[in-house]
Amino acid sequence: MNRHLLSTTDLSRDDALLILDTAEELAQVADRPIRKLPTLRGRTVVNLFFEDSTRTRISFEAAAKRLSADVINFSAKGSSVAKGESLKDTALTLEAMGADAVVVRHSASGAPHRLAGWVRGSVVNAGDGAHEHPTQALLDAFTMRRRLGRLEGLRVAIVGDVLHSRVARSNVGLLRTLGAEVTLVAPPTLLPVAVASWPCEVSYDLNAVLPKSDVVMMLRVQQERMNAAYFPTIREYSRRYGLDSGRMALLPEHAIVMHPGPMNRGIEIGADVADSVRSTIVEQVGNGVSVRMAVLYLLLGGSEAQR
């Protein structure tokens, strides 16, 4: 394993499987009377969030605390960043406080990468701009493997706003490494220009893709980023690319429905679909803690010399 987790493309197949297998063992901790392991006692994990996030930050915080690490939460609002401090100066401050790991979310793609060059501890990318969100992809892969028993040869459809989605980008990279076949489904305006060079298929027709999918992953319509008229109306988007119960019936019997959250019920996913037995949305949240525990353990649990 590398010292940092910045992108899913940095992970070899063995690294990725080691994280998933470790998460599988750590998932048991959630069912025990004492949900805590002493492994990272005396280590400090800093949650450095320049962008609003509730679930990812809480998930990392829960993961670090279950491993007995000390957690310091740092959010940009009301902090020195609001007073104009640069990323580098913030990093040096954290360094001086002795952070063993920095979990960073930033609106600029590549910010975690820069940070990794300034601090001595491990950097975990918790989402940078429209670039990557590796732990989300890992927890998605973990959920698929738990539900369907394998990843090799799995047909995964990722549907919606791929252009702005770090989740889609991280998933394409990781799933490819793990041997799954990914198809992106979106209106042409919501696909990145370079999508032709990505290791996946592209389709504009959701109905045609659904019968051939083991997993369908719905992406959130990021209404805060929809100011450039990517599609005529929400209603039209929902008609063509939303997953309602009629469309869900096109899926094979065993197929599962995923969503990274937070979801817009009635836009990209129907309320009855989100609450159906095929939906793994709540499971994904629980699995997120196990996967993040695995990542923190593998980055921080060993010797300093090896890092």
Binding site: M1, L18, D21, T22, E25, L26, Q28, R32, P33, I34, K36, L37, P38, T39, L67, Y297, L298, L299, L300, G301, G302, S303, E304, Q306
Partner: protein, 200 residues
């Protein structure tokens, strides 16, 4: 190991490990049978006993002991595994390692007699970690320790309740236990450790 000896599988791997076989398959079998009887004597016929093997090789040993308990008493005995990686005191000395599997038999460990099973008892640090791990899983009525080989050199105040074989060793030596389920054969091998070789 003489060249004219017939080269059985055991001979080959003992050579590969650079040592001599101190316990063969029959000795291991007899030792486990004896331990099983001792457990039955000391735990009132094995009622409420849970055998927890410490990965890797403690797990098949725990299973074998459970089979013997079941044979002798005619009722099933429960066996499981207890991974102690997250409780080790030397985690920071080596790169992060893959976790073993923890599998507590149904019924849990609360109020029962847990017998920890491992292949070799050496410094006692693994057992200390196992005791910590147990404490997070529940509260057993009593905890006992069964090992196939006790090689001495304890670094903590820990002793085994059931010992297959006491093997006096020097710290420069290495004891390797091979088991059918993991290694394809049963044997205990005593050889010189890499550290010992380096110093020699």
């Amino acid at each position: 190991m003489h060249a004219s000896k017939p080269a059985g599988a055991a001979t080959v791997s003992a050579k590969a490990a650079g040592g001599k076989i101190v316990l063969g398959e029959p000795e291991i079998r007899r030792a486990l049978t004896r331990i099983a009887h001792e457990i039955l004597e000391r735990t009132d016929g094995g009622t409420d006993v849970v055998l927890l093997g410490i990965p890797t090789r403690g797990v098949p040993l725990a299973r074998r002991l459970a089979e013997r308990l079941a044979q002798v008493e005619g009722r099933p005995a429960s066996a499981g595994s207890l991974d102690i990686t997250m409780y080790r005191d030397d985690l920071r000395l080596r790169p992060a390692r893959a976790l073993g599997h923890t599998d507590v038999p149904p019924g849990g460990i609360d109020g029962r007699v847990v017998i920890l099973v491992d292949d070799v008892l050496y410094s006692g640090r693994t057992v200390r970690a196992a005791l910590d791990a147990l404490g997070d899983l529940g509260r057993p009525r009593a905890v006992q320790l069964a090992v196939l080989v006790d090689r001495g050199h304890r670094e903590l105040p820990i002793r085994a309740d059931y010992v297959g074989k006491n093997l006096p060793t020097s710290q420069r030596e290495m004891v390797k236990v091979l088991l059918e389920e993991v290694d394809g054969q049963d044997a205990v091998i005593l050889g010189e450790s890499d550290e010992g070789k380096a110093r020699a």
